[in-house]
Subunit: 217 residues, 2 copies
């Protein structure tokens, strides 16, 4: 397997965690999201992933029919369906729905508003200054994390949903990393920070950290 | 089942389509997203869904253990796992991953940037004018639809993924409706518009249209 990613991409970080949890090896290919206007827009990568986004996971590269997967949640559910170790979703549909909803509370409500291309568009074509960009970033973090903290009060144990690692934890840890990078005060989210710390005690999480990746600067 | 939604919400529209495809009845409860600063922020609804977002599906209301589901994709996968009629994901994991990625190309990359709360935040606290808001909207539609059209060239048949209705179609139709409402020129996306028309020939799609809902204005 080949994982096209970038050390600081939260979505690639999710997939790195999932691969580690499953005990899977993937060769990392760095797609530098900033250099030269973004390597994700170059023809080679765009032909692999028309969305020009990381992560992209290629399964069976070099075979006649490589499988090219995009979108981090879709990639992780594929890995979860294909490799049984460390299941990332509960067995019962009602519980699966709750875990997926928690994951999507991050992946559909926070991350899409605060990722690099959006922040670049705000300060570029939209003409906002750094202070406005920062207040945009903080607003969506607090909006999303405030709701997530309530979900944790209802469902958390050692981890986001009870005492087993799930897809929700895989999404939470990179989002907390990202918020810390932007100096967001996270003291209003004690459950979240407790779970973030619990996750990072596990090598699958700690070894997926951006700073430990080969392309980290 | 009770579906808390709003006629113009794209995410609620997705769930209405899925319920129709599955042949399921749900009582619709309107949560007016604009009136009085947004009914989704009132205490009653916020206690049901801490994210204060529609849709929210309550299964078994009035029983001792009602199941309260949030996030449209999580709700739809729950329905798909629980009711076998008209499966919305293919049987094979590799194909499921592709369909989920197509759905997420809309639900994680386009819709989160262009929904009501985001547009309100741009023209409110961010201080952008209507023209800037409109150019923001158009930008993310074209960015997302441009990539989606390429995915359709690779995977579409009668519908987004081959000749069966999937979760990707359930996401596409409300997003096209939304783009049309903002007068986006969609002529560059012939596959998308062909599939949109094919879907709307089916009563499950056409009867889920915003204008036909009880709370439509």
């Amino acid at each position: 397997m080949k994982l096209y990613g970038y050390w600081r991409s939260s979505a690639a970080y999710r997939v790195r965690i999932a691969l580690n949890l499953k005990g899977l090896e993937a060769e990392q290919v760095s797609v530098h999201l900033v250099r030269d206007g973004g390597e994700q827009h170059k023809a080679d990568f765009a032909s692999l992933n028309p969305q020009q986004l990381v992560p992209t996971l290629v399964v069976g590269e070099g075979t006649d029919t490589p499988l090219v997967l995009s979108q981090s949640l879709a990639i992780i559910e594929y890995l979860d369906e294909t490799y049984n170790d460390c299941p990332l979703l509960p067995a019962m549909s009602a519980e699966r729905a709750r875990v997926r909803a928690m994951a999507q509370a991050i992946a559909c409500e926070i991350h899409p508003l605060n990722n690099l291309r959006v922040l670049q568009y705000l300060t570029g074509p939209m003409g906002l200054d750094e202070a406005a960009k920062n207040s945009w970033y903080q607003h969506w973090i607090h909006e999303g994390f405030g709701a997530f903290e309530v979900l944790l009060e209802q469902h958390a144990g050692e981890y986001c949903f009870g005492d087993s690692i799930t897809l929700a934890d895989v999404c939470l840890v990179p989002q907390v990393y990202n918020a810390q990078r932007f100096n967001v005060d996270l003291s209003a989210y004690p459950n979240m920070m407790r779970i973030w710390a619990n996750c990072n005690k596990l090598p699958a999480f700690s070894q997926a950290a951006p700073e430990l990746q080969p392309d980290a600067v």
